[in-house]
């Protein structure tokens, strides 16, 4: 009896588990990745879908076979012991071939998606914007009309007076026209070269809709590049545990038309 109950329960669980994957809803909430607004995200989404298909089918197959075998053979008292036809040999071959080939295929295809994010350098006319992550906010810096970023001086950081980056405009000419913002504002369809700087501890930059994520590592000059393809407001959240305010460490990404962006940049304090 116990065997039959187990079989039913495991099969029901397996099938119920698949439902939210297919209809993207659980407990009334939408549980799927949001719309992709990046130029590189399509290959990531495709990779995710293919993996979901293969993993999902493997999951269902294994749970169903488990349930079926336990139904058939659980609690069995009569009859002889039988062996699975072919014994272990064919199972080993099947595992090596199926999983091996699947893994290699997905690995190989995934390389391209990875490469567009990490191996390809940003284009020559990508717009440089610096982002500084520090407990517990992101601040962004635009180089201003001179196109140059002023130097950072950690000892000059004065958040109460909005000098989040530790700039020294008194002595550093390049710093005078730098624009600091609490929001990442970018023009649509323009490649952005995001220079990442960590002020204190480890943080991470994650925008779901852009399909990008990258840690900030104190002491390392890291960068990301992306192109946003849809106007709108999106959330940038920190995904590397950085202290008590980690849950509240976020900023908005505002993707605007080029005109709106130019207007916005002009209105910023320096």
């Amino acid at each position: 009896m116990g065997g039959k109950i187990f079989a039913v329960i495991v099969i029901v669980i397996a099938l119920l588990s698949a439902v939210p994957i297919i209809n993207h809803t659980f407990m009334g909430a939408n549980v799927a990745p949001p719309e992709d607004i990046s130029t590189h995200g399509a290959s990531i989404d495709k990779q995710l879908d293919e993996t979901m298909l293969e993993a999902g089918l493997s999951f269902l197959a294994a749970q169903l076979v488990l349930g079926f075998f336990v139904w058939q053979f659980g609690g069995r008292k009569d009859g002889a012991i039988k062996n699975f036809p072919g014994g272990a040999k064919y199972l080993v071959i099947a595992a090596v071939l199926l999983v091996g080939l699947e893994a290699i295929a997905l690995g190989a295809i995934g390389t391209k998606a990875w490469a567009t994010v990490y191996f390809q350098a940003p284009g020559a006319d990508a717009m440089p914007i610096q982002v500084q992550a520090g407990q517990f906010a992101f601040y962004f810096r635009y180089p201003g009309p001179d196109g140059k970023f002023g130097q950072l001086h950690p000892e000059k950081i004065d958040e109460g007076n909005a000098n989040y980056f530790g700039l020294d405009p008194e002595n550093d000419v390049a710093a005078r026209d730098d624009v600091t913002s609490g929001e990442l504002v970018v023009p649509v369809n323009k490649e952005i070269h995001l220079l990442m700087h960590a002020k204190d501890v480890g943080h991470s930059f994650y925008v779901r809709e852009l399909r990008i994520q990258q840690d900030f590592v104190p002491g390392l000059d890291l960068a990301l590049h992306f192109t946003a393809t849809k106007v709108g407001k999106y959330e940038i959240v920190c995904t590397q545990l950085c202290g008590l305010g980690h849950y509240n460490m976020k900023a908005y990404l505002s993707v605007m038309t080029q005109d709106d962006f130019d207007k916005w940049l002009k209105t910023q304090d320096q």
Partner: protein, 589 residues
């Protein structure tokens, strides 16, 4: 090796020698189990507080203010205290439960018996090993009572958050240093334990017990101890370096130019990534240290209940070795987005995907072996079946995370949390449950209550799926992990999912009381067990009593005649032949 070396130590007489500072591997095994039980209940209570806080972040949780007046003023858990609870939950569970219970507890108790030895090779090391673990536990728990509370950097303790000291905020005071010291001491204990397991397995097998004739769970413990030796040897100095950065002004993990909350840090020259490499070089093998013994225990118990051997034991053992070997090559898959050279992501992804192969082979062999069996359904075998189901579920989500491009989206989301909870928090624990129901009669001479055992299984199996399967959906929605509250625009709509999970977690947690009650009740009032209630062939069921005498075999040295897989054959006692029985068997190794 067929001669048993005699390692006789005197039978203990005093209470202290019998039950406290005992050299007997069986007592030590039970002590490890008891410590793991305390740790798991503590860790579970912490998780209840966490789950309640996540869904009702600004509401007081009655009683928590007595745990910490600063951390939970009026019972409302502060953001830092949530993270501290989370850190302690992870640390307790990974180290003091998942390394202790399947490996140290059951391994200590049964490895020597299963190979026909009187005790471990180094009984004094063994005793030291447990008590050192106990000291590590005390140091860790003391972090709850220091001024600034327990550390909040997670069980992973990434630098510089964990390394710069109190400047990085509340929760990074003395508690973090205590954490580093606790784990350092834990590593010493683990190294001693692993040395013991390896020496015992290689040198103390009784006459006739070739390596090939060892039961699968013995192999699993042996392979685990080999992995453990290398892994903990790396974590130990890493923790020391972390403590030095915190108290001695060194800069192993801290670069120059950091302004932490208006405090300029004097350190220079260190690398936060170095900590990650050292930690995960240990951390990945550690999760296999957690799962391999459970795989061995489940294999062992399934064979007994199926009344037939697995399709191939050699293949299963080779797969466990392959997993152990590959486990050292994949640590970077925790660091795909860490800022290390992106080319290395490809290098780490490949072996990570390849580990799927031995894991799949084992799963297919388990499934294939069920075919044509006469599977006995009892609490122990149900947990084994549950293990297979959970291992598949958890393993499948690993397949996503192994691919760097997908990891870009899923890293640091609840998808990861769901993955590792299913494999470690459920599957490995199911191995411990199975082992408990199975070996309880041998350890105590009594049976656990079967009805309560089955109830425990059904509720836990369904309950844990209800908790951890939705974690994957949250991950696909991009729900970030390690958040103490969900205030972001895209997270607020997901709170109903979290509510469902919290109710499931509280229910499943309550259900574990059935197990604890069963454990305690059966210890004193359980039905008396026969000598070999499961009709199992391995050596632990041939001891003269349950529990076995202090030297396991009552002065006799058992002789082994064949492998432990003689099931479904005509034996003098039934459809099996004990390893110690000289009866002729048709196909034996």
């Amino acid at each position: 090796m067929s001669e048993a070396a005699v390692h006789a130590h005197q039978a203990p007489t005093s209470f202290i020698r019998k039950h406290v500072f005992s050299l007997d591997h069986k007592v030590i095994g039970i002590q490890y189990y008891g410590l793991a039980l305390v740790a798991v209940v503590t860790g579970m209570v912490l998780s209840w507080i966490m789950r309640i806080h996540l869904v009702w972040p600004n509401s007081p949780i009655p009683g928590v203010q007595w745990l910490s007046k600063i951390g939970a003023p009026g019972g409302v858990v502060t953001p830092e205290y949530y993270l501290s609870l989370m850190t302690m939950h992870g640390t307790l569970m990974v180290f003091f439960v998942l390394t202790n219970a399947p490996f140290a507890a059951f391994g200590n108790y049964f490895l020597p018996i299963q190979i026909g030895a009187e005790d471990m090779a180094f009984p004094r090391f063994n005793m030291m090993s447990f008590w050192t673990t106990f000291v590590a536990f005390c140091i860790l728990v003391s972090a709850f009572f220091v001024g600034d509370g327990p550390p909040l950097s997670g069980w992973t303790a990434y630098a510089p958050l964990s390394a710069v000291g109190a400047d990085s905020g509340p929760g990074e005071g003395v508690g973090q240093t205590l954490w580093g010291l606790s784990i350092f001491v834990f590593c010493i204990a683990s190294l001693l334990g692993s040395l013991n397991f390896i020496a015992t397995t290689l040198d103390l097998r009784t006459k006739g017990m070739t390596l090939a004739r060892m039961p699968i769970c013995t192999w699993a413990w042996f392979i685990t101890s080999c992995i453990s030796l290398l892994a903990f040897a790396v974590l130990m100095p890493a923790c020391l370096l972390l403590v030095l950065d915190r108290v001695a002004g060194t800069s192993f993990f801290i670069p120059s130019g950091l302004n932490v909350s208006d405090h300029l840090q004097p350190h220079q020259g260190g690398s936060p990534l170095l900590w990650q490499h050292l930690f995960w070089f240990f951390g990945h093998p550690e999760v296999y240290i957690a799962i391999l013994p459970a795989m061995g225990i489940v294999s062992h118990i399934l064979i007994v209940n199926m009344r037939k051997p697995l399709l191939s034991h050699k293949v299963v053992v080779y797969c466990m070795m392959a997993i152990g070997f590959l486990s050292y090559m994949v640590w970077g898959h925790h660091m795909f987005l860490s800022g290390m050279n992106p080319f290395s992501a490809m290098v780490f992804s490949f072996p990570t995907l390849m580990i799927t192969i031995p894991a799949t082979i084992m799963t297919l062999i388990w499934l294939g072996s069920l075919y044509g069996s006469k599977l006995r359904i009892n609490a122990a075998s149900l947990f084994c079946l549950g293990f297979i189901s959970m291992f598949v579920s958890g393993g499948v989500s690993g397949f996503f995370l192994a691919q760097p491009s997908i990891d870009i989206y899923l890293h640091a989301t609840y998808f990861v949390v769901g993955h590792f909870h299913m494999v470690m928090g459920v599957a490995a624990i199911f191995g411990v449950f199975a082992g408990t129901y199975f070996w309880f009669p041998k350890m105590t001479g009594r049976m656990m209550n079967e009805t309560l055992g089955r109830l425990h299984f059904w509720f836990t199996f369904i309950g844990t799926y209800c908790i951890f399967m939705p974690f994957h959906y949250l991950g696909l929605a991009g729900n970030v992990r390690r958040y103490s509250a969900f205030t972001d625009d895209f997270l607020v709509p997901l709170v109903p999912v979290h509510k469902f999970i919290t109710y499931a977690a509280l229910f499943t947690g309550a259900v574990q009381m059935i197990f604890i009650f069963n454990l305690i009740y059966s210890r004193f009032k359980g039905a008396k067990a026969e000598a070999n209630p499961w009709e199992c062939t391995s050596l632990e069921w041939s001891t003269p009593s349950s529990p076995p005498p202090f030297d396991n075999f009552g002065g006799q040295h058992p002789v082994v005649y064949h492998d432990p897989y003689q099931y479904g054959v005509k034996g003098s006692k039934g459809d099996y032949v004990m390893q110690t029985s000289p009866e002729k068997v048709a196909q034996a190794t």
